[in-house]
Symmetry: none
Subunit: 263 residues, 2 copies
Amino acid sequence: MTAEERKHRIEAYLQGVEFASLEELSQHVGVSTSTVRRDLTVLEAAGSLRRTHGGARVLTPKTDEFAFSARDSHQFSEKEAIGRACAELIGSNQSVILDAGTTVYHVARHLEEKAPQIVTNSLPVANLFASANKVEVILAGGVIYPRLGVLVGPMTVEAFLKMRADVAIMSAGGITLEGITNSHALLIDIQRAMLKAAQKIVFCLDHSKFGRQSVSPLCGLDMVDAIVTDSLAPAELVAGLRERGVEVILAPAPANPAPVAAH
Amino acid sequence: MTAEERKHRIEAYLQGVEFASLEELSQHVGVSTSTVRRDLTVLEAAGSLRRTHGGARVLTPKTDEFAFSARDSHQFSEKEAIGRACAELIGSNQSVILDAGTTVYHVARHLEEKAPQIVTNSLPVANLFASANKVEVILAGGVIYPRLGVLVGPMTVEAFLKMRADVAIMSAGGITLEGITNSHALLIDIQRAMLKAAQKIVFCLDHSKFGRQSVSPLCGLDMVDAIVTDSLAPAELVAGLRERGVEVILAPAPANPAPVAAH
DNA sequence: GTAGATATTGGAAGATTTTGCAAGATAAAT
DNA sequence: ATTTATCTTGCAAAATCTTCCAATATCTAC
Protein backbone atom coordinates (compact mmCIF):
# COMPACT_ATOMS: atom_id res chain seq x y z
CA MET A 1 0.00 0.00 0.00
CA THR A 2 1.37 3.39 -0.97
CA ALA A 3 1.46 6.36 1.35
CA GLU A 4 -1.08 8.11 -0.83
CA GLU A 5 -3.48 5.21 -0.64
CA ARG A 6 -3.02 5.05 3.10
CA LYS A 7 -3.99 8.68 3.54
CA HIS A 8 -7.02 8.07 1.41
CA ARG A 9 -8.08 5.16 3.55
CA ILE A 10 -7.68 7.22 6.68
CA GLU A 11 -9.92 9.90 5.20
CA ALA A 12 -12.52 7.35 4.12
CA TYR A 13 -12.49 5.60 7.48
CA LEU A 14 -12.94 8.85 9.31
CA GLN A 15 -15.85 9.82 7.10
CA GLY A 16 -17.58 6.70 8.29
CA VAL A 17 -16.96 6.95 12.01
CA GLU A 18 -16.62 10.73 12.58
CA PHE A 19 -14.09 10.15 15.35
CA ALA A 20 -11.13 7.82 15.51
CA SER A 21 -8.24 7.35 17.92
CA LEU A 22 -4.60 7.06 16.88
CA GLU A 23 -4.57 3.42 17.86
CA GLU A 24 -7.70 2.71 15.86
CA LEU A 25 -6.37 4.35 12.72
CA SER A 26 -2.98 2.74 13.10
CA GLN A 27 -4.57 -0.69 13.31
CA HIS A 28 -6.91 0.00 10.43
CA VAL A 29 -4.19 0.98 7.97
CA GLY A 30 -1.48 -1.25 9.44
CA VAL A 31 1.29 1.22 10.20
CA SER A 32 2.77 2.66 13.35
CA THR A 33 1.15 5.47 15.26
CA SER A 34 4.04 7.72 14.32
CA THR A 35 3.21 7.40 10.67
CA VAL A 36 -0.45 7.99 11.29
CA ARG A 37 0.46 11.14 13.19
CA ARG A 38 2.41 12.41 10.21
CA ASP A 39 -0.44 11.54 7.88
CA LEU A 40 -2.90 13.37 10.07
CA THR A 41 -0.69 16.45 10.11
CA VAL A 42 -0.60 16.45 6.31
CA LEU A 43 -4.31 15.79 5.98
CA GLU A 44 -5.14 18.54 8.43
CA ALA A 45 -3.00 20.99 6.48
CA ALA A 46 -4.83 19.88 3.35
CA GLY A 47 -8.05 20.66 5.17
CA SER A 48 -9.76 17.30 5.05
CA LEU A 49 -9.89 16.59 8.76
CA ARG A 50 -9.09 17.98 12.17
CA ARG A 51 -6.65 16.56 14.64
CA THR A 52 -7.68 16.18 18.24
CA HIS A 53 -5.87 14.90 21.28
CA GLY A 54 -5.80 11.18 20.91
CA GLY A 55 -7.01 11.02 17.34
CA ALA A 56 -8.86 12.94 14.69
CA ARG A 57 -12.36 13.84 13.63
CA VAL A 58 -14.01 14.81 10.39
CA LEU A 59 -14.17 18.47 9.57
CA THR A 60 -17.83 18.71 8.54
CA PRO A 61 -19.88 16.18 10.41
CA LYS A 62 -23.16 17.97 9.75
CA THR A 63 -23.00 17.75 5.97
CA ASP A 64 -24.85 14.48 6.07
CA GLU A 65 -28.49 14.64 5.17
CA PHE A 66 -29.24 11.68 7.37
CA ALA A 67 -27.12 12.53 10.36
CA PHE A 68 -29.83 13.80 12.59
CA SER A 69 -29.28 16.28 15.34
CA ALA A 70 -32.16 18.04 16.98
CA ARG A 71 -30.29 21.29 17.30
CA ASP A 72 -28.88 21.13 13.80
CA SER A 73 -29.61 24.42 12.17
CA HIS A 74 -27.66 23.78 9.00
CA GLN A 75 -29.72 25.56 6.34
CA PHE A 76 -32.57 25.56 8.80
CA SER A 77 -34.70 28.20 7.13
CA GLU A 78 -34.35 26.68 3.65
CA LYS A 79 -35.40 23.32 4.95
CA GLU A 80 -38.26 24.85 6.86
CA ALA A 81 -39.50 26.53 3.67
CA ILE A 82 -39.20 23.26 1.77
CA GLY A 83 -41.07 21.51 4.54
CA ARG A 84 -43.92 23.97 4.37
CA ALA A 85 -44.18 23.82 0.60
CA CYS A 86 -44.05 20.05 0.58
CA ALA A 87 -46.76 19.72 3.21
CA GLU A 88 -49.02 21.73 0.89
CA LEU A 89 -48.91 18.85 -1.58
CA ILE A 90 -50.55 16.43 0.80
CA GLY A 91 -54.30 16.12 0.52
CA SER A 92 -56.42 15.44 3.56
CA ASN A 93 -56.81 11.86 4.72
CA GLN A 94 -53.90 10.66 2.65
CA SER A 95 -51.46 8.09 3.95
CA VAL A 96 -47.87 9.31 3.79
CA ILE A 97 -44.53 7.51 3.97
CA LEU A 98 -41.82 9.70 5.45
CA ASP A 99 -38.20 8.90 4.78
CA ALA A 100 -35.47 9.60 7.33
CA GLY A 101 -33.37 12.70 6.75
CA THR A 102 -33.35 16.22 8.10
CA THR A 103 -35.21 17.82 5.21
CA VAL A 104 -38.08 15.37 5.46
CA TYR A 105 -38.14 15.96 9.20
CA HIS A 106 -39.05 19.55 8.47
CA VAL A 107 -41.91 18.34 6.30
CA ALA A 108 -43.17 16.32 9.23
CA ARG A 109 -43.29 19.46 11.34
CA HIS A 110 -45.95 20.83 9.01
CA LEU A 111 -47.96 17.68 8.53
CA GLU A 112 -49.86 17.59 11.78
CA GLU A 113 -52.58 19.90 10.51
CA LYS A 114 -53.30 17.57 7.62
CA ALA A 115 -54.05 14.73 10.04
CA PRO A 116 -52.94 11.96 7.73
CA GLN A 117 -51.68 8.50 8.44
CA ILE A 118 -47.89 8.49 8.62
CA VAL A 119 -45.46 5.63 8.12
CA THR A 120 -41.79 6.17 8.85
CA ASN A 121 -38.53 4.56 9.92
CA SER A 122 -37.20 7.74 11.48
CA LEU A 123 -37.01 8.03 15.26
CA PRO A 124 -36.96 11.84 15.24
CA VAL A 125 -40.16 11.90 13.18
CA ALA A 126 -41.74 9.33 15.47
CA ASN A 127 -40.85 11.41 18.50
CA LEU A 128 -42.33 14.47 16.87
CA PHE A 129 -45.76 12.87 16.65
CA ALA A 130 -45.55 10.67 19.71
CA SER A 131 -47.44 13.11 21.89
CA ALA A 132 -49.89 14.35 19.29
CA ASN A 133 -52.80 12.01 19.02
CA LYS A 134 -54.29 13.68 15.98
CA VAL A 135 -52.01 11.67 13.73
CA GLU A 136 -51.71 7.92 13.53
CA VAL A 137 -48.04 7.09 13.19
CA ILE A 138 -46.80 3.68 12.18
CA LEU A 139 -43.16 3.06 12.91
CA ALA A 140 -41.41 0.36 10.92
CA GLY A 141 -39.34 -1.98 13.06
CA GLY A 142 -35.63 -2.55 12.72
CA VAL A 143 -32.21 -2.01 14.20
CA ILE A 144 -31.43 1.49 15.38
CA TYR A 145 -28.56 2.97 13.42
CA PRO A 146 -27.08 4.97 16.26
CA ARG A 147 -25.78 8.16 14.80
CA LEU A 148 -28.69 8.72 12.47
CA GLY A 149 -31.64 7.68 14.59
CA VAL A 150 -32.94 5.62 11.70
CA LEU A 151 -34.29 2.11 11.75
CA VAL A 152 -32.49 -0.15 9.29
CA GLY A 153 -32.10 -3.78 8.38
CA PRO A 154 -34.21 -6.52 6.78
CA MET A 155 -37.02 -6.04 9.28
CA THR A 156 -37.45 -2.47 8.08
CA VAL A 157 -37.35 -3.40 4.41
CA GLU A 158 -39.94 -6.10 4.96
CA ALA A 159 -42.24 -3.71 6.77
CA PHE A 160 -42.30 -1.29 3.87
CA LEU A 161 -42.71 -4.02 1.29
CA LYS A 162 -45.99 -4.93 2.98
CA MET A 163 -47.24 -1.35 3.01
CA ARG A 164 -49.31 0.69 0.62
CA ALA A 165 -49.45 4.46 0.83
CA ASP A 166 -50.62 7.40 -1.22
CA VAL A 167 -47.46 9.49 -1.09
CA ALA A 168 -43.81 8.92 -0.22
CA ILE A 169 -41.75 11.92 0.84
CA MET A 170 -38.11 11.14 0.32
CA SER A 171 -34.64 12.42 1.08
CA ALA A 172 -31.48 11.74 -0.90
CA GLY A 173 -27.82 12.64 -1.07
CA GLY A 174 -27.71 14.06 -4.58
CA ILE A 175 -29.60 14.65 -7.81
CA THR A 176 -28.47 15.02 -11.41
CA LEU A 177 -30.23 14.52 -14.74
CA GLU A 178 -29.07 10.91 -14.55
CA GLY A 179 -31.11 10.24 -11.44
CA ILE A 180 -31.08 10.32 -7.69
CA THR A 181 -28.29 8.92 -5.52
CA ASN A 182 -27.67 8.34 -1.83
CA SER A 183 -24.58 7.85 0.26
CA HIS A 184 -25.83 5.34 2.81
CA ALA A 185 -25.88 1.89 1.31
CA LEU A 186 -27.88 0.62 4.28
CA LEU A 187 -30.73 2.94 3.46
CA ILE A 188 -30.97 2.21 -0.26
CA ASP A 189 -32.93 -1.02 0.10
CA ILE A 190 -35.34 0.64 2.49
CA GLN A 191 -35.85 3.61 0.21
CA ARG A 192 -36.50 1.32 -2.75
CA ALA A 193 -39.16 -0.46 -0.72
CA MET A 194 -40.70 2.91 0.13
CA LEU A 195 -40.79 3.86 -3.55
CA LYS A 196 -42.57 0.61 -4.37
CA ALA A 197 -45.12 1.11 -1.64
CA ALA A 198 -46.26 4.60 -2.62
CA GLN A 199 -48.31 5.81 -5.55
CA LYS A 200 -46.86 9.29 -5.70
CA ILE A 201 -43.17 10.01 -5.13
CA VAL A 202 -41.99 13.39 -3.86
CA PHE A 203 -38.34 14.18 -3.17
CA CYS A 204 -37.35 16.99 -0.83
CA LEU A 205 -33.87 18.22 -1.70
CA ASP A 206 -32.34 21.50 -0.72
CA HIS A 207 -30.24 23.29 -3.33
CA SER A 208 -26.95 21.87 -2.06
CA LYS A 209 -28.04 18.44 -3.33
CA PHE A 210 -28.36 19.62 -6.91
CA GLY A 211 -25.59 18.47 -9.23
CA ARG A 212 -24.15 16.21 -6.55
CA GLN A 213 -23.68 12.50 -6.97
CA SER A 214 -23.32 10.02 -4.13
CA VAL A 215 -22.01 6.50 -4.37
CA SER A 216 -25.20 4.47 -4.56
CA PRO A 217 -27.80 5.10 -7.28
CA LEU A 218 -31.32 5.11 -5.85
CA CYS A 219 -33.70 5.61 -8.78
CA GLY A 220 -34.16 7.28 -12.16
CA LEU A 221 -36.06 10.49 -12.73
CA ASP A 222 -38.93 8.62 -14.39
CA MET A 223 -40.03 7.33 -10.99
CA VAL A 224 -40.21 10.80 -9.48
CA ASP A 225 -43.46 12.74 -9.56
CA ALA A 226 -42.31 15.93 -7.88
CA ILE A 227 -39.26 17.55 -6.37
CA VAL A 228 -39.48 20.27 -3.73
CA THR A 229 -36.43 22.47 -3.33
CA ASP A 230 -35.56 26.03 -2.38
CA SER A 231 -35.10 29.02 -4.63
CA LEU A 232 -31.31 28.72 -4.68
CA ALA A 233 -31.41 25.59 -6.82
CA PRO A 234 -29.44 25.99 -10.09
CA ALA A 235 -31.85 27.19 -12.80
CA GLU A 236 -30.55 25.09 -15.67
CA LEU A 237 -30.81 21.84 -13.71
CA VAL A 238 -34.34 22.76 -12.64
CA ALA A 239 -35.21 23.43 -16.29
CA GLY A 240 -33.67 20.12 -17.29
CA LEU A 241 -35.74 18.26 -14.71
CA ARG A 242 -38.93 19.93 -15.90
CA GLU A 243 -38.12 18.92 -19.48
CA ARG A 244 -38.04 15.32 -18.28
CA GLY A 245 -41.55 15.70 -16.97
CA VAL A 246 -40.69 16.12 -13.28
CA GLU A 247 -42.70 18.73 -11.43
CA VAL A 248 -40.26 21.01 -9.59
CA ILE A 249 -41.57 23.20 -6.78
CA LEU A 250 -39.39 26.08 -5.61
CA ALA A 251 -40.17 26.93 -2.01
CA PRO A 252 -40.11 30.72 -1.56
CA ALA A 253 -37.03 32.08 0.17
CA PRO A 254 -37.72 32.80 3.81
CA ALA A 255 -38.28 36.45 4.66
CA ASN A 256 -35.86 36.47 7.58
CA PRO A 257 -32.27 35.26 7.28
CA ALA A 258 -31.24 31.90 8.67
CA PRO A 259 -31.33 31.93 12.47
CA VAL A 260 -27.92 31.41 13.98
CA ALA A 261 -27.36 28.58 16.44
CA ALA A 262 -28.19 29.40 20.03
CA HIS A 263 -25.28 30.45 22.17
CA MET B 1 -12.26 7.17 22.60
CA THR B 2 -10.85 10.64 22.17
CA ALA B 3 -11.73 13.58 24.36
CA GLU B 4 -13.45 15.20 21.41
CA GLU B 5 -15.63 12.19 20.84
CA ARG B 6 -16.43 12.00 24.51
CA LYS B 7 -17.72 15.57 24.55
CA HIS B 8 -19.78 14.82 21.51
CA ARG B 9 -21.32 11.82 23.20
CA ILE B 10 -22.14 13.84 26.28
CA GLU B 11 -23.94 16.34 24.10
CA ALA B 12 -25.83 13.63 22.28
CA TYR B 13 -26.79 11.81 25.46
CA LEU B 14 -28.03 14.99 27.00
CA GLN B 15 -30.16 15.74 23.99
CA GLY B 16 -31.92 12.47 24.64
CA VAL B 17 -32.56 12.78 28.36
CA GLU B 18 -32.73 16.58 28.75
CA PHE B 19 -31.01 16.39 32.11
CA ALA B 20 -28.35 14.08 33.47
CA SER B 21 -26.41 13.82 36.70
CA LEU B 22 -22.63 13.82 36.92
CA GLU B 23 -22.65 10.19 37.91
CA GLU B 24 -24.87 9.25 35.02
CA LEU B 25 -22.73 11.03 32.47
CA SER B 26 -19.55 9.66 33.96
CA GLN B 27 -20.87 6.12 33.64
CA HIS B 28 -22.16 6.73 30.17
CA VAL B 29 -18.83 7.86 28.76
CA GLY B 30 -16.64 5.83 31.09
CA VAL B 31 -14.46 8.47 32.73
CA SER B 32 -14.27 10.00 36.17
CA THR B 33 -16.64 12.69 37.33
CA SER B 34 -13.76 15.16 37.39
CA THR B 35 -13.27 14.77 33.69
CA VAL B 36 -16.96 15.10 33.04
CA ARG B 37 -16.95 18.32 35.06
CA ARG B 38 -14.20 19.71 32.90
CA ASP B 39 -16.01 18.64 29.75
CA LEU B 40 -19.20 20.29 30.94
CA THR B 41 -17.33 23.52 31.62
CA VAL B 42 -15.97 23.52 28.09
CA LEU B 43 -19.30 22.60 26.55
CA GLU B 44 -21.11 25.27 28.51
CA ALA B 45 -18.61 27.86 27.35
CA ALA B 46 -19.22 26.63 23.82
CA GLY B 47 -22.90 27.14 24.44
CA SER B 48 -24.23 23.68 23.86
CA LEU B 49 -25.57 22.99 27.33
CA ARG B 50 -26.06 24.44 30.78
CA ARG B 51 -24.50 23.21 33.97
CA THR B 52 -26.64 22.74 37.03
CA HIS B 53 -25.87 21.55 40.52
CA GLY B 54 -25.41 17.83 40.23
CA GLY B 55 -25.34 17.62 36.47
CA ALA B 56 -26.22 19.40 33.28
CA ARG B 57 -29.19 19.98 31.05
CA VAL B 58 -29.87 20.97 27.48
CA LEU B 59 -30.21 24.59 26.57
CA THR B 60 -33.40 24.24 24.56
CA PRO B 61 -35.77 21.80 26.16
CA LYS B 62 -37.63 20.28 23.25
CA THR B 63 -40.44 18.92 25.45
CA ASP B 64 -39.58 15.33 24.83
CA GLU B 65 -42.35 14.17 27.05
CA PHE B 66 -41.09 10.61 27.53
CA ALA B 67 -37.69 11.29 28.92
CA PHE B 68 -39.23 14.06 30.94
CA SER B 69 -42.12 12.15 32.42
CA ALA B 70 -39.85 9.21 33.13
CA ARG B 71 -37.67 11.51 35.16
CA ASP B 72 -40.16 13.25 37.34
CA SER B 73 -42.44 10.29 37.66
CA HIS B 74 -43.27 9.55 41.26
CA GLN B 75 -41.20 7.01 43.15
CA PHE B 76 -38.21 7.94 41.06
CA SER B 77 -35.63 6.68 43.51
CA GLU B 78 -37.38 3.35 44.14
CA LYS B 79 -37.57 2.71 40.42
CA GLU B 80 -33.98 3.74 39.99
CA ALA B 81 -32.95 1.24 42.69
CA ILE B 82 -35.03 -1.49 41.06
CA GLY B 83 -33.45 -0.62 37.73
CA ARG B 84 -29.96 -0.95 39.12
CA ALA B 85 -30.70 -4.24 40.86
CA CYS B 86 -32.39 -5.68 37.81
CA ALA B 87 -29.52 -4.73 35.52
CA GLU B 88 -27.26 -6.78 37.80
CA LEU B 89 -29.12 -9.91 36.74
CA ILE B 90 -28.11 -9.53 33.12
CA GLY B 91 -24.99 -11.40 32.08
CA SER B 92 -22.70 -9.97 29.48
CA ASN B 93 -23.55 -10.56 25.84
CA GLN B 94 -27.09 -11.57 26.59
CA SER B 95 -29.98 -10.51 24.43
CA VAL B 96 -32.67 -8.72 26.40
CA ILE B 97 -36.30 -7.90 25.65
CA LEU B 98 -37.43 -4.73 27.38
CA ASP B 99 -41.10 -4.11 27.96
CA ALA B 100 -42.57 -0.62 27.92
CA GLY B 101 -43.26 1.06 31.25
CA THR B 102 -41.43 3.50 33.46
CA THR B 103 -39.89 0.94 35.80
CA VAL B 104 -38.34 -0.97 32.92
CA TYR B 105 -37.14 2.31 31.50
CA HIS B 106 -35.02 2.70 34.61
CA VAL B 107 -33.54 -0.72 34.01
CA ALA B 108 -32.53 0.41 30.54
CA ARG B 109 -30.64 3.33 32.00
CA HIS B 110 -28.30 0.84 33.70
CA LEU B 111 -27.93 -1.63 30.89
CA GLU B 112 -25.47 0.18 28.70
CA GLU B 113 -22.45 -1.11 30.59
CA LYS B 114 -23.55 -4.68 29.94
CA ALA B 115 -23.41 -4.08 26.21
CA PRO B 116 -26.16 -6.52 25.36
CA GLN B 117 -28.51 -6.72 22.45
CA ILE B 118 -31.79 -5.05 23.30
CA VAL B 119 -35.21 -5.57 21.78
CA THR B 120 -38.04 -3.25 22.76
CA ASN B 121 -41.29 -1.65 21.69
CA SER B 122 -40.75 1.42 23.84
CA LEU B 123 -39.86 4.72 22.22
CA PRO B 124 -38.32 6.19 25.37
CA VAL B 125 -35.97 3.22 25.65
CA ALA B 126 -35.10 3.51 21.97
CA ASN B 127 -34.34 7.19 22.39
CA LEU B 128 -32.14 6.45 25.35
CA PHE B 129 -29.83 4.31 23.25
CA ALA B 130 -30.19 6.18 19.98
CA SER B 131 -26.95 8.07 20.50
CA ALA B 132 -24.89 5.30 22.10
CA ASN B 133 -23.36 2.85 19.71
CA LYS B 134 -22.23 0.36 22.31
CA VAL B 135 -25.59 -1.32 22.32
CA GLU B 136 -27.48 -2.81 19.42
CA VAL B 137 -31.12 -1.89 19.79
CA ILE B 138 -33.87 -3.53 17.80
CA LEU B 139 -37.13 -1.66 17.81
CA ALA B 140 -40.28 -3.62 17.01
CA GLY B 141 -42.53 -1.94 14.49
CA GLY B 142 -46.07 -0.87 15.14
CA VAL B 143 -48.48 1.96 15.70
CA ILE B 144 -47.41 4.58 18.19
CA TYR B 145 -49.71 4.71 21.18
CA PRO B 146 -49.47 8.42 21.82
CA ARG B 147 -49.64 8.95 25.54
CA LEU B 148 -47.25 6.17 26.48
CA GLY B 149 -44.83 6.21 23.56
CA VAL B 150 -45.29 2.51 23.06
CA LEU B 151 -45.55 0.64 19.80
CA VAL B 152 -48.68 -1.48 19.65
CA GLY B 153 -50.76 -3.44 17.18
CA PRO B 154 -50.45 -6.69 15.20
CA MET B 155 -47.16 -5.61 13.64
CA THR B 156 -45.62 -5.41 17.10
CA VAL B 157 -46.99 -8.77 18.19
CA GLU B 158 -45.71 -10.38 15.03
CA ALA B 159 -42.25 -8.92 15.53
CA PHE B 160 -41.91 -10.45 18.98
CA LEU B 161 -43.32 -13.79 17.91
CA LYS B 162 -40.40 -14.08 15.50
CA MET B 163 -37.79 -13.19 18.12
CA ARG B 164 -35.73 -15.24 20.54
CA ALA B 165 -33.99 -13.68 23.50
CA ASP B 166 -32.23 -14.72 26.69
CA VAL B 167 -34.13 -12.52 29.10
CA ALA B 168 -37.35 -10.52 29.10
CA ILE B 169 -37.67 -7.66 31.55
CA MET B 170 -41.33 -6.91 32.08
CA SER B 171 -43.67 -4.38 33.62
CA ALA B 172 -47.19 -5.05 34.86
CA GLY B 173 -50.11 -3.44 36.59
CA GLY B 174 -50.41 -5.73 39.58
CA ILE B 175 -49.28 -8.93 41.22
CA THR B 176 -50.99 -11.33 43.62
CA LEU B 177 -50.45 -14.99 44.46
CA GLU B 178 -52.89 -15.74 41.66
CA GLY B 179 -50.65 -14.26 39.03
CA ILE B 180 -49.74 -11.10 37.21
CA THR B 181 -52.23 -8.71 35.63
CA ASN B 182 -52.08 -5.60 33.50
CA SER B 183 -54.50 -2.80 32.78
CA HIS B 184 -53.64 -2.00 29.19
CA ALA B 185 -55.50 -4.51 27.10
CA LEU B 186 -53.60 -3.36 24.03
CA LEU B 187 -50.36 -4.44 25.58
CA ILE B 188 -51.40 -7.89 26.77
CA ASP B 189 -50.93 -9.61 23.41
CA ILE B 190 -47.54 -8.01 22.99
CA GLN B 191 -46.42 -8.99 26.48
CA ARG B 192 -47.53 -12.56 25.91
CA ALA B 193 -45.42 -12.64 22.75
CA MET B 194 -42.48 -11.30 24.73
CA LEU B 195 -42.91 -14.02 27.35
CA LYS B 196 -42.88 -16.67 24.63
CA ALA B 197 -39.75 -15.23 23.03
CA ALA B 198 -37.57 -15.18 26.13
CA GLN B 199 -36.00 -18.00 28.12
CA LYS B 200 -35.84 -16.19 31.42
CA ILE B 201 -38.65 -13.92 32.63
CA VAL B 202 -38.00 -11.08 35.06
CA PHE B 203 -40.71 -8.73 36.29
CA CYS B 204 -39.85 -5.30 37.68
CA LEU B 205 -42.61 -4.16 40.00
CA ASP B 206 -42.38 -1.46 42.61
CA HIS B 207 -44.10 -2.14 45.95
CA SER B 208 -47.31 -0.31 44.96
CA LYS B 209 -48.06 -3.12 42.48
CA PHE B 210 -48.12 -5.78 45.20
CA GLY B 211 -51.55 -7.06 46.10
CA ARG B 212 -53.16 -5.14 43.25
CA GLN B 213 -55.18 -6.72 40.48
CA SER B 214 -55.82 -5.16 37.10
CA VAL B 215 -58.49 -6.15 34.64
CA SER B 216 -56.57 -8.37 32.26
CA PRO B 217 -54.66 -11.43 33.49
CA LEU B 218 -51.24 -11.67 31.89
CA CYS B 219 -49.64 -14.85 33.19
CA GLY B 220 -49.35 -17.18 36.17
CA LEU B 221 -46.49 -17.20 38.65
CA ASP B 222 -45.13 -20.45 37.21
CA MET B 223 -43.88 -18.55 34.16
CA VAL B 224 -41.96 -16.03 36.23
CA ASP B 225 -38.32 -16.67 37.04
CA ALA B 226 -37.61 -13.58 39.10
CA ILE B 227 -39.27 -10.46 40.44
CA VAL B 228 -37.33 -7.32 41.30
CA THR B 229 -39.00 -4.90 43.68
CA ASP B 230 -38.08 -2.38 46.35
CA SER B 231 -37.74 -2.93 50.08
CA LEU B 232 -41.22 -1.58 50.83
CA ALA B 233 -42.93 -4.59 49.28
CA PRO B 234 -45.26 -6.35 51.77
CA ALA B 235 -43.28 -9.10 53.48
CA GLU B 236 -46.00 -11.76 53.57
CA LEU B 237 -46.63 -11.51 49.83
CA VAL B 238 -42.91 -11.68 49.15
CA ALA B 239 -42.72 -14.80 51.32
CA GLY B 240 -45.68 -16.29 49.48
CA LEU B 241 -44.03 -15.70 46.14
CA ARG B 242 -40.81 -17.32 47.31
CA GLU B 243 -42.79 -20.33 48.50
CA ARG B 244 -44.06 -20.70 44.96
CA GLY B 245 -40.51 -20.90 43.71
CA VAL B 246 -40.23 -17.34 42.41
CA GLU B 247 -36.95 -15.60 43.13
CA VAL B 248 -37.73 -12.21 44.67
CA ILE B 249 -35.02 -9.57 44.74
CA LEU B 250 -35.46 -6.61 47.04
CA ALA B 251 -33.56 -3.61 45.73
CA PRO B 252 -31.93 -1.79 48.65
CA ALA B 253 -33.57 1.48 49.57
CA PRO B 254 -31.60 4.33 48.08
CA ALA B 255 -29.30 6.03 50.55
CA ASN B 256 -30.03 9.43 49.09
CA PRO B 257 -33.55 10.75 48.49
CA ALA B 258 -34.90 11.18 45.00
CA PRO B 259 -33.07 13.84 42.99
CA VAL B 260 -35.55 16.46 41.92
CA ALA B 261 -36.02 17.23 38.24
CA ALA B 262 -34.31 20.30 36.87
CA HIS B 263 -36.57 23.27 36.60
C1' DG C 1 21.84 -3.30 -12.67
C1' DT C 2 24.38 -0.72 -9.16
C1' DA C 3 25.72 3.05 -6.06
C1' DG C 4 24.56 7.05 -3.98
C1' DA C 5 20.96 10.33 -2.71
C1' DT C 6 16.46 11.17 -0.96
C1' DA C 7 12.28 10.15 1.32
C1' DT C 8 9.71 7.41 4.47
C1' DT C 9 9.15 4.72 8.50
C1' DG C 10 9.33 3.19 13.41
C1' DG C 11 10.89 4.14 17.74
C1' DA C 12 12.70 6.91 21.94
C1' DA C 13 13.34 11.04 25.03
C1' DG C 14 11.59 15.17 26.62
C1' DA C 15 7.70 18.55 26.65
C1' DT C 16 2.79 19.21 26.94
C1' DT C 17 -1.80 17.98 27.86
C1' DT C 18 -5.18 15.37 30.10
C1' DT C 19 -6.91 12.66 33.81
C1' DG C 20 -8.13 11.22 38.49
C1' DC C 21 -7.84 12.11 43.26
C1' DA C 22 -8.06 14.81 47.56
C1' DA C 23 -8.74 18.91 50.44
C1' DG C 24 -10.83 23.16 51.20
C1' DA C 25 -14.74 26.23 49.68
C1' DT C 26 -19.45 26.84 48.26
C1' DA C 27 -24.15 25.86 47.78
C1' DA C 28 -28.37 23.23 48.83
C1' DA C 29 -31.37 20.65 52.19
C1' DT C 30 -33.35 19.65 56.66
C1' DA D 1 -27.76 26.31 62.20
C1' DT D 2 -26.17 22.00 60.98
C1' DT D 3 -25.50 18.52 57.77
C1' DT D 4 -24.93 16.79 53.38
C1' DA D 5 -23.79 17.05 48.77
C1' DT D 6 -21.52 19.39 45.13
C1' DC D 7 -18.09 22.48 43.23
C1' DT D 8 -13.46 24.48 42.68
C1' DT D 9 -8.56 24.26 43.05
C1' DG D 10 -4.11 22.20 43.22
C1' DC D 11 -1.21 18.31 42.36
C1' DA D 12 0.77 13.87 40.90
C1' DA D 13 0.23 10.17 37.54
C1' DA D 14 -0.84 8.78 33.02
C1' DA D 15 -1.47 9.52 28.31
C1' DT D 16 -0.39 12.00 24.28
C1' DC D 17 2.26 15.11 21.33
C1' DT D 18 6.53 16.87 19.34
C1' DT D 19 11.18 16.42 17.99
C1' DC D 20 15.02 13.92 16.85
C1' DC D 21 17.62 9.80 15.15
C1' DA D 22 18.65 5.42 13.07
C1' DA D 23 16.95 1.96 9.81
C1' DT D 24 14.62 0.86 5.78
C1' DA D 25 12.60 1.62 1.37
C1' DT D 26 12.37 4.25 -2.87
C1' DC D 27 14.21 7.04 -6.36
C1' DT D 28 17.78 8.92 -9.58
C1' DA D 29 21.94 8.97 -12.20
C1' DC D 30 25.17 6.45 -14.43
